[in-house]
């Protein structure tokens, strides 16, 4: 077990190295540098120039890269040009918002997708199966932002059932009202993300169940006279959940990824919205940090997924 984990972590080192080089050159392509954030109406351009020289922005690229990498590892990714705050502080605040909203949406997604796939797989070829297959092919094909717009138009603006922006209402005081107000603000984006995001889990889980149903061990269990219910719960469902588990690492790290469209449309101040406002404001140090963060989360997600798979599926450990 530990061998697998250690080998997998070692494999991540070159990936991280390539990612950091990519993001570094991406940052170099963008105009501006860490000191652009210091420039205000009262700063002396010569002073900034001196700072740039002192920070070695005229050094060879590989020296700059190593220094940048060192800073990035210590969590120092420069100052935000527009917000005049360290990038990491801003990201930290937004990440909390994104985390809770994503958590709610992930829970809802599983709540919708798992019963959906079980119903479809149990009734293979019947109308229930057709219904959910069609539903998922539609939600897969239609661009999600179209759905989000219609949802906020109907439930936010026309019916006024839900707030159309922010994370908490200003009149909420005390711990419990603030908590419920926050949930209330999250419901619409989280719900929309979940209702239109079932396709991934549905496809894997449904075909997983269908594959397992025809396996020899299921036939053996039936021949032994095990009850159909027990076969389904103990044998089929357990094995069919493996493909879902293999994606779980990405789900965990995806909690901090930020949803660009949903957060922009529902006015939810998370990392996705931060990215769009940073792009519009040409806040390059923030953009670089967000891309680095998301790339890192992706790699970490792949690592976690592999470890989870090795934990739940003993066959992988042996290989």
């Amino acid at each position: 077990m530990w061998k697998v984990i250690i080998r997998r972590i070692l494999l991540m080192i070159p990936q991280l190295f390539i990612l950091s080089i990519l993001v570094f050159f991406f940052a170099k392509l963008m105009p501006g540098d860490p000191f652009s954030g210091l420039i205000g109406p009262h700063t002396d351009p010569h002073e900034v120039e001196a700072l740039r020289r002192a920070a070695g922005l005229y050094d060879p690229w590989w020296e700059q890269y190593l220094r940048w990498l060192g800073n990035a590892i210590h969590g120092n990714l420069g100052m935000s040009y527009n917000l005049k705050e360290p990038v990491m502080t801003v990201i930290g605040h937004r990440a909390i918002n994104t985390f809770w909203m994503s958590l709610l949406s992930v829970i809802l997604t599983y709540l919708f997708a798992i019963p959906m796939s079980i119903v479809a797989a149990r009734n293979e070829g019947k109308w229930q199966d057709q219904l959910w297959l069609t539903y998922n092919s539609i939600t897969f094909g239609i661009p999600p932002y179209v759905f989000y717009l219609l949802i906020i138009f109907i439930f936010g603006y026309s019916l006024n059932w839900f707030p159309t922006g922010g994370t908490v209402s200003p009149d909420a005081m005390g711990i419990i009202p603030v908590f419920f107000s926050k949930i209330y603000h999250m419901i619409l984006p989280a719900f929309s993300l979940a209702v239109f995001g079932t396709v991934g889990i549905f496809t894997y889980f449904r075909s997983g169940i269908l594959d397992e149903q025809t396996q020899d061990y299921v036939r053996t269990a039936r021949a032994k006279g095990v009850k159909e219910k027990v076969i389904f719960r103990r044998h089929i469902l357990r094995n069919a959940s493996l493909p879902i588990a293999s994606n779980f690492g990405f789900v965990i790290t995806g909690l901090l990824g930020g949803a660009i469209f949903a957060e922009t449309i529902f006015g939810y101040p998370g990392l996705g919205q931060l990215f769009i406002t940073s792009i519009s404001g040409r806040d390059y140090s923030m953009i670089t940090a967000l891309i680095l963060l998301n790339g890192f989360l992706g790699l970490l997600g792949a690592l976690l997924s592999d470890i989870i798979m090795a934990m739940v599926d003993p066959r992988i450990r042996i290989q």
């Binding site: 092919s137 239609i142 999600p144």
Partner: protein
């Protein structure tokens, strides 16, 4: 006689026709989609650029059915129907171009890596794994904002950087199952060149799959381009897209008080993509059947 009939039932066009006859929804979708493309492309051929670039403040935000504007006008006083036509054409063009690049690159790379396998294939797959992990949406948006003299061609190029990977992996996986079949082994033993086996023997067997994949890729690209344009990072100003029309909805007042500015474009995307999905599903069934019957 029977042999001839048997051969005929296996031909691609024939099996697609049969499937469409069975699936009325896909049939209607096909007719509808062809009609939409014809109307959009013929109508926009008769439009001059000044029609959809010039602004007429006097006619701004006219409600539907006023002054002969069936669906009203937008913030520049331009007729919504005319804007729909030209925007749909631009969005379709981008989606067509990206789909073409995706399919050409995806098919060639997919067949080659799937056929040869081995070390190169392993490295190549690690590479695609890595690219798939990158936050592609963010990187596309950054490219759109920092590329100098940005135009439609740059947008096509930028989207294509990430779009080919899915198709390549699909074609690779299917090629790998074909490689172990008897006809490929027989060809190899009799000394047919690799190139000929790959593209004259294996690839034609994947063609139904490729067509099914093409419809889904096309639908996905419409979503991606209009999504980017909706956020303001898609087609440049002066080239309207369905996404830029929907972008009107980002202003809460316009969204609630002037729904005719953004709802029509939303409806066009919804029904066009729906039609494509229904056709794609029918084609996928044909691909699965043909895979099973061989």
């Amino acid at each position: 006689m029977t042999e001839k009939k048997h051969k005929n039932s296996l031909s691609l066009v024939h099996s697609i026709k049969e499937e469409l006859k069975k699936d009325k929804l896909a049939m209607i979708s096909t007719i509808f989609l062809v009609a939409v493309f014809l109307i959009v492309y013929i109508y926009s051929m008769f439009l001059k650029q000044s029609n959809y670039v010039d602004v007429n403040i006097m006619d701004q935000y006219l409600a539907p059915l006023t002054n002969g504007h069936l669906l009203g006008t937008d913030n520049g006083g331009r007729d919504i129907i005319m804007m729909l036509m030209i925007s749909a054409r631009n969005s379709f063009n981008i989606a067509f171009a990206v789909t073409l690049i995706t399919l050409v690159v995806g098919n060639i790379l997919g067949v080659i890596t799937g056929y040869f396998g081995g070390r190169f294939d392993l490295i190549f797959m690690r590479f695609t794994d890595f690219v798939m992990i990158l936050p592609s949406m963010m990187i596309i948006i950054v490219f759109v904002t920092i590329i100098p003299r940005f135009n439609s061609w740059s947008l096509i190029g930028i989207i294509s950087i990430f779009s080919w990977i899915g198709t390549t992996r699909l074609i690779r996986a299917r090629t790998m199952t074909e490689v172990n079949r008897d006809y490929v082994r027989a060809s190899k033993t009799s000394g047919t060149s690799d190139f000929k086996i790959m593209f004259r023997e294996i690839w034609p067997n994947l063609s139904t799959l490729v067509i099914a994949e093409a419809t889904l890729v096309f639908a996905g690209n419409i979503g991606l381009e209009t999504g980017l344009s909706f956020l303001g990072f898609g087609l440049p100003a002066g080239t309207p897209s369905l996404g830029t029309m929907i972008n009107e909805a980002t202003n809460p007042e316009t969204m609630t008080d002037k729904p005719w500015t953004w709802v029509p474009a939303t409806v066009v995307i919804l029904i066009v993509v729906l039609a494509i999905i229904f056709i794609g599903n029918a084609l996928r069934r044909v691909a699965d059947q043909r895979q099973a019957t061989r």
